[in-house]
Amino acid sequence: MTRTHSHSARTASLRPSSFVIAFALALALSVPACTARAQRDHYAPLVLQLPASARTMAMGGVTMATRDVDAVFGNPALVGGNNTLSLTGSRYPGAATAGQLATAMNVGKLGIGLGVSMLDAPTTTELPPLQSQVLLDDESFARPGSSLAATVAASFNWKGFRWGAAGKYAEERAYFSRGGAYAADIGVTKDIRNGTITTGLAVQNIGTPIRGNGVGRNLPTRVALGIGRTGYGLGKWFDLGGAANFAVRRDGRFVGSGGGELSYVPIEGVSFALRGGVRAPELHAQQPITAGLGVMLDRVALDYGWESMRGGGGAHRISIRLR
């Protein structure tokens, strides 16, 4: 018996034209936001509108076509793959802190993802929903406020596409009041160009308004389309990747975001990544620019993300991923 090895079973480098066009479009959609008026917060809960992990934060918050354990917070069709665990902690300019835990695994033909995302943000209001201003405030007499979402997602292949669905429970608390809602996501992805480019489409946060003490606010329902390109080789040692999202919100607003990642790989299994992104801010507290760094050593990755926030400060986020 002999193994069926072959000389490099790779195809040629592929022209990144379609990806570049998509990326440029996302930038074009997000750049006007840099000078846009202050956004009003329309939806709740707040935790569903924050970026998922340090990596996605650094890349403009794109999640529709990025393969990551944190897909459970983005496009459910991308959950699964390697058994992975991710733990994230965030610190906002105000007194707010956030944490996320996500895990992905394969069970038979299903990819499974589980995620919990939590925001602890002291608030000056007594009733939910929380406003994004809580991310910036550092009031001495603020009252306890929190926002939480727990998600379970599954994905599978069918007819050449990867399909996924997620169910989640989201809740928001302010002082002694709380409101909760159940929601669902559905998504589909397709790898093209021999798997180097991933495209994804998802409808997120389908559900009834979140209510607490008679006050209701819609979930951040949206239809989002994304495209992601995995490492495009730049010479021997560098890879360039990127992703872009376009979304139509419930209120009809069209928003875009995009990000890139330049990785230096000095030896197999080790990489150092520099990331940057731009987005159309959807929360009053957010600003367009994001950035970050990442180090990967075999099965362990440590990522840092930064997002610009209103008032000149920034939010910091650190994730550790274990494969």
């Binding site: 069926t4 790779r10 030896i267």
Partner: protein, 660 residues
């Protein structure tokens, strides 16, 4: 001030990051490990007096292209073709099992498997001819980085020496394809059909220049398997996997050359490709970062010789050679540019040296088999005869000539005492290890598809006296009279076998039991109680051994005359050559079963040498050959393909012989 401080901080962060990256990479990189080079000694002699086959010949070299004339991607096959060729329909061979690949090709190339172009670039000598024809085909690579120009160095050399070389374009079969090596081989035969027309057509620039009775096929990587497939298809009337496809080839292909080939990617009728009656030359590098096992050895073993015609097969393992340097387009990084992160290329011989080896050996093989330049034949039996021509690295040679009769190839049964034919008896004496098993490849979980016997010995007697040695262990093959007569074994015959020392060292042998001592012996009662000794550390069955090895080969005739020669006089019994392919420390051990390949060296010992060693020894009455482990106290060897051959004198080491 603030800006300056910020710049300093940014600069510090940048340099710190780079420093951390470099230190991390440095810590994780395996140190360069190579087996100590013995080439200054092994390659110190040049016994062939013929002209260096790696040097250009006297003929002027001309070039031309032939092809479809419509190629959208390759200007040379669109605008520069001297001879137009029709496309061929390879859909039944290359199409299944993934028709999607046809669509990908249609999009990129403008054609699918139904209209494959017959494109080639040709180097040919100026002159009337006819000249022997050699086709070379590349293997799998990026289909957008065209592989066929990468053999120009061979084309120019061979053409200057009177061969026509055509480098066949099969880039359209490259990329993410699997199981398409039938199509690669079949395409070679379609090219030969085109060449028959080039030679026969009036007005063709190649009219009458091609000797269609002296043809060789060469292939690299998947192309290396393709030449074996082509060799098999050449003699078939139907495609084995779909008999509706009829074959009508039957070309006078004399020789096949496989360069770092794969094996078993295509299996006709789900069987390994059978091959018979071709001269076959196989080369492979120890540091191959793509086909990291010497997989062509399986095909080498499958080649059979029948009838009276003279053929030979030879395989050479080239230490520190890789996969891609045989082709100037592919280069030193076997997985593409980005594999610099993965593959350790520090140990490779230079691209020039690796190609120099190809030039010397491939030319010599073609000269010997297509143009009867028999002076080059000894190189294929023992590379040491061409020491001055070869790049200074280590080589292992396998060789078999068509007159070979196997006494023991360990394929026939599970009885370790029976040979490959009736009349052969195998016997071991004082061996620590004696077993027959398949030879593993370096690739984890795969093997060479061929059995060998593993012989281990330790002449030390266990006990306090570490100098006490027992009778040297031995392993012997005995043949009966009728077999000796049938094989015409006499002073003109040679003993042939393949052997490789391993790094395993069995523990000392148990002392013989003393039957004169009984329980309750009064003498022992009188002696004082022995002092309690600390328990020795438990020893593994076989330790790693790196001491150079040698042993004696004994021949015994019917009258009991024993003649003995040292093995090292006929080749270097090297322990396995260690090859680390990956940069990351520990990756080789993780991904491979071994950090070396078991490659058995073929030893050919003329029986006349035994006669010279012991006057009175009668080779025509030979009964037993014995491997006597008397020159190295302990060790283990793999032994295979033991037999006798009446090798033509042209293969003999030239006058003067090798100095041990």
């Amino acid at each position: 001030m603030k800006t300056a401080a910020r710049n300093r901080r940014a600069s510090l962060a940048t340099w710190s990051t780079l420093l951390i990256a470099s230190v991390t990479a440095g810590c994780l990189t395996t140190p360069l490990k190579l087996t100590p080079d013995d080439s200054p000694v092994v390659l110190s002699q040049q016994l062939i007096a013929a002209p260096d086959p790696g040097m250009r010949g006297p003929l002027a070299v001309k070039t031309l292209y032939y092809g479809s004339g419509t190629d959208e991607r390759r200007p040379e096959f669109r605008d520069s073709v001297a001879i137009r060729t029709a496309t061929v329909d390879g859909s039944k061979l290359a199409g299944p099992p993934n028709p999607e690949q046809g669509k990908i090709r249609k999009k990129y190339w403008g054609f699918d498997f139904t209209k494959l172009p017959v494109n080639g670039r040709v180097w040919y000598p100026e002159g009337a001819g006819p000249f022997p024809l050699v086709l070379i085909v590349h293997g799998n690579h990026s289909m957008e980085e065209y592989s066929d120009p990468g053999y120009r160095y061979l084309g120019e050399l061979l053409a200057s020496r009177g061969f026509i070389l055509a480098s066949v374009d099969e880039n359209f079969l490259n990329g993410f394809m699997r199981g398409e090596n039938d199509a690669r081989g079949w395409m070679l035969l379609k090219h030969l059909q085109a060449w028959r027309r080039f030679n026969d057509s009036t007005g063709s620039p190649l009219q009458g220049k091609v000797d269609m009775h002296r043809i060789a096929l060469m292939g690299h990587s998947r192309g290396g398997e393709a030449v074996a497939v082509a060799g098999a298809f050449n003699r078939l009337s139907h495609y084995p996997d779909d008999a509706n496809v009829k074959f009508d080839f039957d070309f006078d292909i004399k020789s096949l050359v496989a360069i770092a080939p794969v094996d078993g990617q295509y299996t006709p009728a789900n069987k390994p490709t059978p091959l018979s009656n071709y001269n076959y030359f196989l080369i492979h590098g120890s540091h191959d970062g793509d086909v990291s096992s010497f997989s062509g050895l399986a095909q080498y073993e499958r080649i059979r010789y029948t009838g009276d015609s003279s053929y030979f097969k030879s395989a050479i393992y080239v230490y520190r050679a890789n996969h891609g340097q045989w082709n100037t387009v592919w280069g030193s990084l076997d997985g593409g540019k980005r594999s610099a992160r993965v593959l350790d290329i520090r140990g490779l011989i230079s691209q020039a040296d690796q190609r120099r080896f190809a030039e010397v050996y491939i030319t010599a093989f073609l000269e010997a088999t297509l143009r009867d330049k028999r002076e080059y034949l000894p190189m294929f039996r023992d590379h040491r005869v061409a020491g001055r021509w070869l790049p200074k690295t280590m080589y292992i040679t396998r060789f078999q000539e068509s007159s070979f009769h196997a006494a023991a190839n360990y394929e026939e049964d599970v009885d370790v005492t029976s040979g490959s034919v009736p009349g052969v008896t195998l016997e071991g004496d004082s061996l620590a290890t004696w077993k027959e098993a398949v030879i593993p490849y370096r690739w984890r979980g795969s093997d060479q598809g061929h059995n060998a016997v593993t012989i281990g010995w330790n002449n030390h007697i266990a006990g306090d006296d570490t100098t006490k040695l027992g009778k040297p262990a031995s392993y012997s093959v005995t043949i009966d009279d009728s077999l000796r007569s049938a094989w015409r074994v006499d002073g003109g015959s040679s003993l042939v076998f393949s052997l490789a020392p391993t790094d395993a060292k069995p523990g000392p042998r148990s002392p013989a039991k003393d039957s004169t001592k009984a329980k309750g012996d009064s003498a022992s009662k009188k002696s004082p109680a022995p002092k309690a000794k600390p328990k020795p550390k438990p020893k593994k069955d076989a330790e790693r051994d790196s001491i150079p090895m040698d042993l004696s080969i004994e021949a015994v005739d019917a009258a009991g005359h024993v003649a003995r020669v040292p093995l090292s006089g006929y080749g270097v019994p090297r322990r396995p050559l260690e090859a680390f392919v990956y940069r990351r420390a520990g990756r080789d051990k993780e991904r491979f079963a071994n950090t070396f390949e078991y490659v058995l060296q073929t030893y050919t010992i003329p029986l006349a040498d035994f006669v010279r060693a012991t006057p009175g020894f009668d080779a025509s009455r030979l009964t037993t050959v014995r491997w006597r482990f008397d020159r190295t106290v302990a060790g283990t060897v793999l032994l295979d393909n033991i037999g006798f051959a009446r090798i033509p004198a042209a293969f003999d080491v030239p006058a003067g012989g090798m100095k041990p």
